[in-house]
């Protein structure tokens, strides 16, 4: 489709072609993603699950039956569809259903935030390194290597120690772990795209580096970036749950699935639902994102990432 537009217009009027190309890629992406959703059962299942959790997260304050923090001393109730607490209560007598809804908020917000953080930095590093090459590329890639050698868990712990607990620390820590992948993938794409005819054409008519990077190179690397984004989102949600399970990062009172799971650890025998319910939510959400990402990967024909 893009090629058709490009050949129809030619590259005589560059600024106009650019707009068309970017628009073309955007239309192409939307049609491709929607056709994936229409055809692929994996994508449908994944999208359904994720949107369910996303919607309940978004409107949690409106639909949650109770305040997730309100405690009722001495009331530990098992799940039962008839009672006032359909999913039961935890050891503090807090309503499980409400806490799970609010937990979805934290998990999704932190997950998306972390991947956005990582992708913005990673894409920039990859674009600049790949496009300019030479020592700039060398320095940036060694920086990315160093990021890779620094375990995200360590970054998270140190940020919490330095800045105190908070959602932003978790986003930054997990975000850092996402930079290297985006940087490598985008750099690889750029190395190929840099030699493509349309890039050479843009350069030959005196287009500056920055516009070339943003209008020629970036739009053409969007496919792999989107695929990577979904795959990384699943990992980020998993990482967030691990951190809050360990009690690092978000404030202990915040309702998060990982923390709920951790708090239920002392009641695994007497009240297993406190741990099991959030655990099931974690699994289903990550599974949904993974299924959707996998369908996208098939559609965009991106090789499986190596980690």
């Amino acid at each position: 489709m893009i090629d058709k537009i490009r050949s129809l217009i030619g590259i005589s009027d560059l600024s106009r072609t650019d707009r068309v190309r970017i628009l073309g890629i955007r239309i192409d992406l939307i049609t491709r993603i929607s056709s994936v959703v229409r055809r692929d059962r994996k994508a449908q299942a994944g999208l359904l699950v994720v949107s369910l959790f996303a919607i309940s997260a978004a409107i949690a304050p409106e639909i949650a039956p109770y305040d997730p923090q309100s405690q009722q001393f001495g009331m530990l109730q098992p799940p039962g569809m008839t009672g006032a607490h359909p999913l039961g209560t935890d050891s503090y007598g807090r309503d499980m259903l409400s806490r799970i809804m609010y937990g979805a908020r934290t998990s999704l917000a932190v997950g998306i935030g972390a991947v956005v953080f990582g992708s913005v930095f990673g894409i920039t590093i990859g674009l600049v390194g790949g496009y300019f090459g030479g020592w700039i590329d060398d320095v940036l890639m060694r920086f990315v290597d160093a990021l890779w050698a620094l375990p995200w868990l360590l970054i998270a712990i140190m940020l919490t120690v330095i800045r105190g607990p908070g959602v932003w620390n978790v986003i930054i820590a997990i975000g850092f772990a996402n930079i290297d992948d985006f940087a490598r993938i985008v750099r690889g794409e750029v190395l190929v795209i840099r030699e493509e005819e349309y890039t050479l054409a843009a350069r030959s008519i005196g287009m500056g580096s920055l516009p070339i990077i943003f209008f020629e190179v970036l739009p053409n690397a969007v496919g792999p970036i989107i695929v990577q984004f979904t795959i990384r989102l699943a990992r980020a949600i998993l990482a967030e749950s691990t951190l809050s399970f360990l009690g690092i990062g978000v404030k202990p009172s915040t309702a998060t699935w990982g923390a709920m799971l951790g708090q239920g650890r002392d009641f695994l025998v007497s009240a297993p639902w406190i741990s099991l319910l959030p655990g099931i939510c974690i699994t289903i959400t990550i599974l949904g994102v993974n299924l959707f990402g996998d369908a996208l990967r098939d559609a965009f024909d991106v090789r499986e990432s190596t980690d």
Binding site: R142, L153, I157, S241, F245, G258, L261, N290, D307
Partner: protein, 317 residues
């Protein structure tokens, strides 16, 4: 080739240096103070000064840094502020459980993941493939600590032979006891990684099985088994080596949460504790070890390529 190895080794050392320097500075930005952690907040100024000097943190930062690097080069990681032991001893004590879990988990993950992936690729779109792919999907969607919790809830009451708490030393209690305590933690760490390896092996084999030379080999009338093992595996293994390498690198960090569930005092637990207690030397020691490990594994995997597939060469020779 030799040149390539040397170049990569030098780069690796540079990366480790950058990481440990960053950590050296970052950890000192923490508001907590190791002196307060040792003598308590109500100690007199004199006591605090004495402790500060005995810990060697009275000097300016750059002096401490140079001193620490010098010691590091001689293999001395300093003394723990809190435990008053050499850092190397503290790490050595916590290393055995973590390495035991990580290593057995890695073996399990490979043993489960690689064959399942290959069979799935060969029997593509059969019941086996669907079930295996589904389970692998579930595996990669479950955090290791959650699998641990499931084990504790469902396995411990039904299978009393496998304990759900603690770790016993291999040298003190013998192989059987050691193994018994290791089963569940290792499985919990292994399963998500087995899922990753399975999916990767499958797609890698599928790609190879579609290649022209496989078709040629089949057309020549070679037995399917020979085609699979000689031509298929030799080429399909290369990407598999990469995943296994990367998993080896991240596995150590992945065991942390599992150690917590099973109440095992491994390196992860020690790292978390020492950061909370401002025990700088221990934190730095563990970071040195971890980052060196990552870099080493990375290099090792690259070299392994050339062994698995002699067509890959480095350094333009």
């Amino acid at each position: 080739m030799k040149q390539y190895v040397i170049k990569r080794a030098i780069q690796g050392v540079a990366v480790v240096w950058a990481v440990i320097t960053a950590v050296f500075v970052l950890i000192r930005l923490a508001p907590g103070n190791p002196v307060t952690a040792i003598v308590g907040p109500s100690a007199s100024a004199e006591t605090r000064q004495r402790v500060r000097e005995s810990l060697g943190i009275g000097q300016p930062l750059h002096v401490q840094y140079v001193e620490w690097l010098g010691k590091l080069l001689r293999g001395d990681l300093g003394r723990s502020y809190v435990l008053d032991l050499p850092v190397t001893r503290v790490i050595a004590q916590s290393l055995q459980p973590t390495v035991s879990i990580a290593f057995s988990a890695l073996c399990l993950a490979i043993l489960i993941g690689v064959p399942t992936g290959i069979v799935s690729a060969v029997k593509r779109e059969t019941l086996f493939d669907y079930v295996a792919t589904l389970i692998a999907f579930l595996g990669i969607s479950m955090p290791a600590f959650w699998i641990s919790i499931l084990f504790v809830v469902f396995v411990s009451s039904n299978v009393p032979w496998v304990p759900t708490f603690g770790y016993v030393s291999l040298s003190k209690e013998g192989v059987v006891e050691w193994f018994r305590h290791l089963v569940l933690p290792s499985l919990a760490v292994a399963l998500p990684n087995a899922g990753v390896i399975m999916r990767f092996s499958r797609s890698s084999m599928l790609e190879v099985l579609n290649e022209d030379y496989i078709r040629t080999a089949k057309a020549k009338g070679l037995s399917p088994r020979l085609v699979l093992f000689k031509h298929g595996l030799q080429n399909g293994l290369i990407p598999i080596v990469t995943v296994v390498g990367i998993i080896t690198g991240v596995l150590i960090a992945g065991t942390v949460a599992v150690e917590v569930v099973f109440g095992i005092r491994g390196m992860g637990q020690v790292l978390i504790d020492s950061i909370k207690e401002n025990d700088f030397p221990v934190v730095q020691g563990i970071v040195v070890l971890l980052s060196a490990w990552f870099v080493f594994v990375n290099l090792f995997v690259d070299l392994l390529y050339t062994w698995v597939n002699p067509q890959v060469t480095y350094g333009g020779e």
